[in-house]
């Protein structure tokens, strides 16, 4: 990946990420998150991980965020816009962020592989779709099926809960 593209998309992604929390309008926040996801997908594509990049767009930007936006628009959250900054919440947030950054720095400095550049990949292009499929259906078959059952339970639970409210 060209370094120019990497820096451009990283900067854009971070800018949109910041705008998710700074925007007072929930619709603007949601759309910034979508833009941030798209930039993340571009970074994945730059690393030749086409499958993950496309799934990022398909699942998060195309499905999850559309539903989020849909709910936000239906609820029409005007109160959210009027809410001002809470000083204590800001202070707490800053403290948590500082702790997180400190922890991250400590972990990275203790991780020796991060000090030197990674060796170049032997194979120029990997058939990532096939590799992901093989990994899911052989080595990680049990976790994959467990997740499937969990999702099924969750969706049945949602149907049961919403049915009860209708009565």
């Amino acid at each position: 990946m060209s370094p120019i593209l990497f820096w451009a998309f990283s900067a854009l992604m971070l800018a949109f990420g910041v705008s998710v929390i700074l925007n007072r309008d929930p619709v603007a926040s949601a759309l910034s998150l979508v833009a941030s996801f798209l930039c993340l997908a571009a970074l994945f594509v730059g690393l030749d991980a086409f499958f993950i990049g496309v799934i990022q767009v398909l699942v998060y930007a195309g499905a999850v965020m559309v539903l989020f936006l849909f709910i936000i628009m239906l609820l029409d959250l005007k109160a959210e816009k009027r809410r001002s900054f809470n000083k204590f919440a800001l202070l707490g947030g800053a403290a948590v962020t500082a702790l997180f950054v400190a922890g991250l720095l400590k972990v990275i400095s203790a991780f020796p592989a991060g000090a030197k550049p990674f060796p170049a990949l032997g194979v120029a292009s990997v058939d990532d779709v096939r590799q992901v499929g093989l990994a899911i259906f052989t080595r990680f078959n049990l976790p994959f099926q467990t997740v499937g059952v969990l999702v099924l339970v969750a969706s049945i639970g949602v149907i049961v809960l919403s049915r009860r409210q209708l009565k």
Binding site: I4, V27, V34, V57, G62, A63, V66, F70
Partner: protein
């Protein structure tokens, strides 16, 4: 500045040339003439004439009527475009300005971006006729198509009035629902082909016959005959879902004029309205192209062997290249005419009927179809 040398300038130039040729040379002219065809075909079906007057100002000696060719209104799309550009661009006072201006762009851009992975020809001037030959082609198409709903949702919401909002709610629930059957109905095809790359899909169909017409390679085996049944089912589901995804009649609930004025683009005028219009037709072309690539052999012409000459820059190779591009877009135009024919034949669904069709029938049939295909693939060698 050594990283400037790493940039593949030739590749970028070739990609830009291909993109410009595809969008401005082929797709946008097809879009404007599809609108014209829509009006002429609807007139034909309803026993009217349609726009048959607007011609081109051509002249032999500079006099007004010295050369009279009957062009049957072929100048109509140009007149329409001029009208859209010159009309008053009115932005109502009650709208959310930023999103109101953003929405038409978001409706147009995804529809055109989908075309990037579609192989629309074999070789031309020694270049492969696909802008981005990625190994996740079909997933990319679905991903970008799912982004397309933002334009409609934002248009309805930012307009701040009843009808657009109802239209955009309908559009988003309809598009999310039919994305499922669209994706699932493509799975049997991908199982048969064994690859997500669209160029490989065409390569498979050249070697084994088009999926929908398996005899086009000259022989018909029992396996192909058995697989033809699930392929036909997925073709029907895929096409129906494509109608719903592109908001075409009989599923044009988001803009049904008898209930919602014009749905999500009620408040739009002039070129902003035209962008929604063009986006819808561009999405139709993209959808038809995917149908052609997955089921109808892409640019392949049946019983015409692929000549290695084509990848060269000889005149014969270039002619063959153009022939294949023409074949691809001829198939696309065929599907587009089918879209138009259906629009002026079937009445509109009711919204609950639409949801029932998507969730209770198409979704289940597509799911069962995957198992049937997998069983045939595993049992019949």
């Amino acid at each position: 500045m050594d990283f400037l040398n790493d940039i593949p300038w030739m590749l970028i130039a070739a990609s830009i040339a291909k993109t410009l040729f595809l969008i401005f040379g082929v797709v946008l002219p097809i879009v404007s003439y599809t609108v014209y065809a829509e009006r002429r075909v609807s007139a034909l079906i309803q026993d009217r004439l349609g726009p048959n007057r607007t011609g081109f100002p051509i002249s032999l000696f500079g006099f007004e009527k010295d050369l009279q060719l009957f062009l049957g209104g072929l100048g109509q799309p140009i007149a329409d475009a001029v009208k859209f550009l010159l009309k008053e661009e009115f932005t109502p006072a009650h709208v959310n300005k930023f999103y109101f201006w953003l929405a038409p762009v978001l409706a147009m851009v995804p529809a055109l971006s989908t075309l990037a992975v579609l192989p629309f020809g074999n070789y031309l001037f020694g270049q492969k006729m696909v802008v981005a030959d990625v190994n996740v082609g079909i997933l990319y198409v679905f991903a970008i198509a799912s982004i397309g709903v933002y334009g409609i949702v934002l248009a309805g919401w930012s307009s701040n009035s009843k009808y657009p909002f109802l239209g955009s709610i309908r559009a988003s629930s309809q598009m999310i629902s039919y994305e499922l059957s669209l994706g699932l109905s493509a799975v049997p095809v991908l199982l048969i082909i064994g690859n997500l790359n669209l160029s490989q899909a065409i390569q498979y169909q050249i070697e084994n016959g088009w999926l929908l017409l398996p005899f086009t390679d000259g022989n018909l085996t029992l396996r192909e005959l058995l697989l033809w049944i699930p392929v036909l089912i997925s073709f029907i589901i895929f096409t129906i879902s494509m109608f719903a995804e592109t908001n075409r009649l009989p599923f044009d609930l988001p803009e049904s004029e008898t209930e919602l004025v014009a749905g999500y683009h009620t408040e739009y005028s002039a070129m902003k309205f035209a962008l929604f219009f063009l986006g819808e037709y561009a999405a139709m072309i993209a959808g038809s192209s995917v149908i052609v690539v997955l089921f109808l052999g892409g640019w392949h012409i049946p019983f015409l062997p692929i000549n290695t000459l084509e990848s060269s820059t000889t005149p014969a190779g270039i002619a063959l290249g153009f022939l294949h591009i023409t074949a691809f877009f001829a198939k696309v135009v065929g599907i587009l005419l089918f879209f138009i024919w259906v629009r002026w034949t079937l009445p509109r669904f009711r919204f609950d009927q639409l949801m029932k069709l998507g969730w209770l029938y198409l979704f289940e049939i597509a799911l069962v179809n995957i198992f049937i295909t997998a069983a045939i693939l595993a049992l019949v060698k």
